[in-house]
Structure formats: structure tokens, C-alpha cells
């Protein structure tokens, strides 16, 4: 199964200007619609976020897809003392080694392992802070031709990225029809040969 890199987090005050444009509710909605639109055709690979991980778990449960197979979380051992309890419930966390006393180097190591996966076919950015730019650049470096989708309306660093990439019109910057955005994107990825398999029918429980 093709994999999708998701970069999603909620900007906080005091760490850059990102919280000024961010709407936490729209970040929640965009992540929800992304999972609904892609979870049956793509494995979602991401760095985890305490407010979003439980939500993705619940959606997978309701859609009847196995969270432990459909989502792959990366976590640096640098943050070992702060791991969320969910990590223990599912066997789907890949731990990367810490660089002693170096937060940034530890994060970079984790990002290189996560974004260097050769099964990644696209990247989606929702909300986020400084890490978005780093993750975008690393993704580009490892996968120069793969599509990248910054979702603008929820704000944060993904909004800045969407503006910088310049391929979005003004309406798109405010577009909260996330179901439509992801539906078009997935169709485009499939046409581009990124995820060539046809849309599988959901299993009836």
C-alpha cells in the first residue's frame, strides 16, 4: 500500500507567529477529512501529536480499518519521558535514537528516517510550526517528484507554505471544503501513478 506523509500540529503561542493564522477547529476538521478520504488507500506516516493521535485512532475504529496497520507513528527517544500512553497500546510506533542533549539533532534524525521511507508517495501539511519547513525540504530532497499538498485554510505554517509555493488562488487559501480538496488530490495522485491501485470497496462488518 502506498504511504502518505502527514505533517499536522496545532500552533501554540510563543513559538513564532503561526498561532495568529491558525484555527484549531479547522485543523481538527482537515485531519478528520484527510483520514476519511485516504485511509483505505494509503498508510499514513507521521510524527504524532497528543491532540490528534487519539482522534485518528477513533476514526479508524469507526471506519472499520485497523489503526495499527493503517497509521505508522515516528517518535524520537529524546522525548521518552513524554511519550503518550497510546504508544503502548499499538504496535505501530517506530522509535529513532536520541542524540544526547541535542533536541534539534534528535528531531532531525527522526525526520530523516521518517521522510526517507521509500513507500511515501505524497505529503500533506496541516497547521504546524517551524518543523513544517524542515519537513517540506527533507521530503522534497528524498522524493523530488512526489506531490505536496499544504492545506491553507486552517492556517499555521502550512498556510505560509501554501502561499510560498504559490500554486493556490485566493479562494483556495480560505477553502474549508476539505473533503473536496482531498478527493481531488487523491484522484490526481492516482492518475499520476502515485497510488495505482483502484479504490477498494469497504468491507461490510
Amino acid at each position: 500500500m502506498a504511504a502518505l506523509f502527514l505533517s499536522a500540529s496545532i500552533p501554540v503561542r510563543g513559538r513564532g507567529h503561526y498561532h495568529e493564522t491558525a484555527s484549531p477547529f479547522l485543523i481538527q476538521c482537515a485531519v478528520r477529512e484527510l483520514v476519511i478520504a485516504t485511509i483505505r488507500t494509503h498508510r499514513i506516516v507521521w510524527g504524532g501529536h497528543p491532540s490528534i493521535t487519539p482522534m485518528i485512532w477513533s476514526i479508524c475504529e469507526d471506519l472499520g480499518v485497523a489503526y495499527s496497520n493503517s497509521v505508522v507513528l515516528y517518535q524520537s527517544r529524546f522525548f521518552e519521558d513524554r511519550f503518550p500512553e497510546e504508544n503502548q497500546r499499538f504496535d505501530n510506533v517506530i522509535f529513532t535514537d536520541a542524540v544526547p542533549n541535542d533536541r534539534e539533532a534528535s528531531l532531525l534524525k527522526m525526520r530523516e528516517a521518517m521522510l526517507g521511507r521509500d513507500d511515501l508517495t505524497a505529503a500533506v501539511f496541516i497547521g504546524g510550526m517551524d518543523g513544517v519547513q524542515t519537513e517540506y525540504q527533507l521530503f522534497r530532497q528524498f522524493h523530488p517528484a512526489a506531490p505536496v499538498l499544504p492545506v491553507a485554510a486552517p492556517g499555521g505554517a502550512a498556510f505560509d507554505l501554501a502561499q510560498r509555493l504559490g500554486d493556490t488562488v485566493a479562494l483556495h487559501l480560505q477553502d474549508v471544503n476539505f473533503a473536496g480538496i482531498f478527493h481531488s488530490a487523491v484522484s490526481g495522485w492516482r492518475d499520476a501513478g502515485g497510488a495505482s491501485q483502484s479504490f477498494p470497496r469497504p468491507t461490510v462488518p
Binding site: P24, S58, D62, V176, N177, A179, R201, P205
Partner: protein
């Protein structure tokens, strides 16, 4: 307060029709503490109507022979509900433009301005029974504040779910709780110190997130927010706004929370609606059918690939046998379906719905996230 809802009157209403409609709609929204023309935008025969996707919006179109031209296709494409009104149902061809003829028309003789007003308010999610809030709190920490907010929010014509008031003693507590949560636009979370230590409140918060329900977190002065609550909107309480002896909130704080609730609610309602309709549109277009527009009772009008009409009635929250019954009686002689978002619905209730669907033939259920497959299977 900023604009929270947007309503428009299009076409060619008579002065009497316009005045009557304006008066009824104005009265209705004033009961919610809002003013027509202020928090609820009221545009009469505008040259253009392109409401924000983040606000609930609807329009009524008064048909007449040679009514003023308006860019209806753009409005319909954006999934803004448009209610066509005719002077007499036999005159649809003369009075209603082609783009609106697939949508059920209101006959003005049947109920007049009052019926048009109700239909318009319903499309914008502005009927009291549509304004649903779920109060989530720890009883030992915020009981008095919860009761106080229950009264204040109810007075603004919200339907508030408060566990101690809203569940009859014999009802299945857990099922009732889940269903009422799924039916809500906003979870009002009273974030006291040990909110997440209770299994119930924790679960309520988690389900709201998965379901796309907006969370308004009322931040108690002594509590440290959990990292889990980062997606919630925030209403902050100052230390002096909580009476330590009684646990009551100051009137100013209650007022502020109510205003913020209205803002959060309008956005939540609008954004969820845009995405629900979009899932249906994606579904019908992927099988080469066509999305026509949205009309009365928020019905979604579609054309199947073979050219047959299909009317889909979306339900917010948990659909019941009454949803099927309403769908069939509202569109006699048409192929109808009831659309719902199955995320968060209890498996036992889902089994009951599947059973019901097998036995009620004139209407079917459609799960929003599986619309494409279900339309493809449609035996019209």
C-alpha cells in the same frame, strides 16, 4: 459581534411578501439574542451573494415571470441552499428558472411567509431544535457552573444536553449520551482540574473530536490544560469570575461564554455541512452523475448517470426510523435516501439501522464516506 449567519432574498418578492418574511425571520433570530441585518446578514436582491464557507447561509428565491437574473449556477455549485417559491405550484415552468426546477418548490399559497421563513431558517440551521449543545463537565468540580450555563444557554434557545436533566431514569445511559453527543454542533467542555480523570468526560471529548464536533473549552483558573485539548477553542475564566464558596460563575463570564458559543456553533455547523455535502458530491461525480443543488430541508438534489432524480436528505447526528419516514413523505414519487455520517454511531444502533433499511424499501441509508459505492450500486 461579527456576522455569524448569512441569509438572502433573491428573485422578485412583492413588498408585502418581503415585509412579512423580514418580520418573521427578524423575530426568530432576536430570540437567540441576534439582530437581523447585524449578526444575521440579510441581503435583499443583492447583485451577488457569495457567503463565507465558515458561516451557515441560505437563500430564498421568489419566482415570477421575468424575475431579475442572478448567477444561480455559482450559488448552487457552492452548495448554498436555495428555496424556490412559486405563487402557484402549477406555474413552476413560468416562474422558476431552469437551474432551480429540479429542487422542490414551495407554493406560497400554502403557508405564506411563515412557511417560507421556517424553511429558510431550517436551511441555515437556525431553528431552535437544530441548535444543539452538549455540556461536558465533572460533577464534583463544576456542577453549579454547569447548571448555571444550562439555564443561560437554554434561554438563548439552544437545546442543551445536560446529563442530569436530559436522560430519563430508565434510559440506557451510555447509548443516550453517545447519541446526544453525535447530534450536537458544539461540546461545551468545563475544563476543571481533573476533567480527564473521568472515563466519561474523557470519552465525550474524544468522540467529539472524531466526529468533527467543535469543542469550546471553558478554562478554569486553576487547571493546567491537557495537551489533548489543543484543537479546542478557548474561553478563559479569570480567578475572580469563579465564586470559591458557591462555584458559580460571574454574569459577565456567562455572557461571554454564550457569545463565544454562538460563534463557534455557526462555524462548526457550516464547516461540517460543507464537508458532508462535498462527500456526496464526490460520490455522485465519481460515478458520472451530477450534483444539482440544495433545497428545502437541506435536501441534496442529484442526477444519477441514467438521468433519474435522486433526493438525499442529510441528518445531523443519529438517524432514526423517523428520518426515513420524513424523507419518503417529503418527496413523494421520487427516489430518496437519508444521508448520515456513521463515524461515532454505536454498532448496536448501526445494526438496528441496517435491519430497518432492509425492511423499508422506498428510502435507503447512505453513509457519507461511502457515497460513491452506494450510488454505484443504486438500482433506480
Amino acid at each position: 459581534m461579527p456576522v455569524l449567519y448569512e441569509l438572502a432574498v433573491l428573485g422578485a418578492p412583492s413588498d408585502a411578501q418581503l415585509n412579512a418574511l423580514e418580520e418573521i425571520v427578524g423575530q426568530a433570530v432576536s430570540a437567540f439574542g441576534m439582530t437581523l441585518g447585524a449578526e444575521v446578514a440579510w441581503l435583499v436582491q443583492p447583485d451577488e451573494f457569495s457567503p463565507s464557507q465558515r458561516r451557515a447561509a441560505a437563500a430564498v428565491y421568489f419566482g415570477s415571470q421575468g424575475a431579475a437574473a442572478f448567477d444561480l449556477p455559482a450559488l448552487l455549485k457552492r452548495a448554498v441552499p436555495v428555496l424556490p417559491v412559486v405563487s402557484d405550484v402549477s406555474r413552476v415552468r413560468e416562474e422558476i428558472p431552469q437551474e432551480l426546477r429540479h429542487i422542490n418548490c414551495l407554493d406560497y399559497r400554502d403557508g405564506g411567509a411563515a412557511r417560507v421563513a421556517t424553511a429558510l431558517l431550517e436551511c441555515a440551521g437556525l431553528l431552535p431544535r437544530q441548535r444543539r449543545v452538549f455540556l461536558s463537565y465533572k460533577r464534583n468540580e463544576a456542577r453549579h457552573a454547569a447548571l448555571q450555563l444550562f439555564d443561560a444557554i437554554s434561554a438563548r434557545h439552544f437545546e442543551v444536553f445536560l446529563d442530569t436533566h436530559s436522560i430519563a431514569p430508565a434510559e440506557d445511559f451510555q447509548a443516550m449520551l453517545w447519541h446526544r453527543l453525535c447530534d450536537s454542533d458544539v461540546l461545551l467542555m468545563l475544563d476543571t482540574q481533573t476533567y480527564f480523570e473521568s472515563r466519561w468526560t474523557s470519552a465525550e471529548f474524544g468522540r467529539a473530536q472524531a466526529k468533527g464536533i467543535s469543542v469550546l473549552r471553558v478554562d478554569w483558573p486553576d487547571s493546567t490544560p491537557s495537551a489533548r485539548t489543543a484543537t479546542a477553542s478557548r474561553a478563559e475564566l479569570l480567578a475572580e469570575e469563579v465564586d470559591p464558596a458557591t462555584g458559580h460563575l460571574s454574569l459577565a463570564a456567562v455572557e461571554r461564554i454564550c457569545l463565544q458559543l454562538e460563534e463557534v456553533r455557526s462555524e462548526s455547523h457550516a464547516v461540517r455541512n460543507v464537508n458532508l455535502v462535498s462527500q456526496v458530491r464526490n460520490g455522485i461525480e465519481s460515478i458520472h452523475g451530477q450534483f444539482v443543488g440544495i433545497g428545502q430541508h437541506k435536501s441534496i438534489h442529484l442526477l444519477l448517470p441514467d438521468g433519474k432524480d435522486l433526493v438525499v436528505y442529510p441528518t445531523v447526528g443519529v438517524p432514526t426510523s423517523a428520518s426515513l419516514h420524513e424523507a419518503v413523505t417529503r418527496s413523494p414519487g421520487k427516489t430518496v435516501a437519508v444521508l448520515y455520517d456513521h463515524v461515532g454511531i454505536l454498532p448496536s444502533w448501526q445494526a438496528h439501522m441496517d435491519w430497518l433499511g432492509e425492511h423499508v424499501r422506498p428510502a435507503r441509508w447512505v453513509k457519507a464516506s461511502e457515497a460513491a459505492w452506494q450510488f454505484a450500486d443504486w438500482e433506480a
